[in-house]
């Protein structure tokens, strides 16, 4: 199935058109997207570094994860909410961009992993470590960010 007509329809939506035709809207949304990225990265790193034995090592993992979760979730929602209008404004360009598809694929995997398996591991851990769980999380989110940045190049 060819997705191109679907992507063209998405680009023709009102939101897509308004963002595309505005000079400042895309950059402003992009700035919010980036700031949310920093917060999401911070919330992910806080727990992953702890799982590796860095950062707030005197705190139990489950407590840290519980405290970090609302910020992680809030940042995740802002990233999705800002990512959608940016995508709609240039859906056709994204269709021809391999990094875009890598990004979305990795984003789905990273999100499911974070909100299911990683959450369960961190909630059941007090003072131990879980380096593999952390490395998988870091690798997945790094991949999302890396591919995301490369949408601009390819």
């Amino acid at each position: 199935m060819d997705l191109l007509p679907f992507f063209q329809q998405l680009e023709a939506t009102t939101v897509g058109r308004v963002v595309r035709e505005s000079l400042w809207m895309f950059p402003v949304i992009e700035c919010v997207h980036l700031l949310a990225l920093a917060l999401l990265g911070g919330a992910v790193l806080l727990v992953d570094l702890r799982l590796l034995g860095f950062g707030l090592v005197n705190q139990p993992v489950d407590l840290l994860a519980r405290k970090a979760d609302p910020w992680l979730l809030a940042a995740w929602m802002v990233i999705i909410a800002t990512g959608i209008p940016m995508f709609l404004s240039e859906a056709t360009k994204c269709y021809y961009s391999p990094p875009f598809f890598y990004k979305i694929g990795l984003l789905v995997i990273a999100s499911v992993y974070t909100f299911t398996y990683r959450r369960r591991v961190t909630r059941e851990l007090a003072y131990g470590r879980a380096p593999l769980t952390a490395c998988a999380s870091l690798a997945l989110w790094f991949g999302v960010g890396f591919a995301g940045r490369w949408i601009a190049f390819y």
Binding site: P27, C31, L34, L37, L45, L46, L56, Q59, K67, W71
Partner: protein
Amino acid sequence: MNFSAFVQWLDATPGSVALRESMLGYPMIETMHVLTLCLFLGMIALVDLRLLGLGFQSIPVSEVAGRLLPIGLAGFVLMAVSGALLFYSGPIRAYGNIFFRIKMALIMLTGINALVFHYTIYKRVASWDRDPIPPLRARLAGLCSLVLWSAVVVCGRMQAYNWFEKAPGA
């Protein structure tokens, strides 16, 4: 040699030209610069949230700052190195860019904010270390840090757009 002449000279060096024209080097460095934001600003933001009394309230302020700021500092070094390389890849363009100049000024302000915080209210952190909501001056420092660094990110992103650069024929 004034700074303008230095920028002209730097822009013409072979390394600068090579980096500017590289297919892989420039995007790689820019990607590192953006993603290091998580390591640097992510840690700073967590400390600021604690200072504001908005998060991690059960953990002493000195523990949050003492454990996370060194990680943030490592992020800052990566940020500065990748940022310096980005500047090196196009010194004339960066130097003439209003957002670049505002960004540099804002970074200096963040430094002043951090210094003032560390040498005033943070000196007495023992007396408010476990307060869920730190004293006003600490909260102000946290707020200034968040606002200033956010503005730095915004300026950095805006630097890539060329709306304000001289229009053709202007």
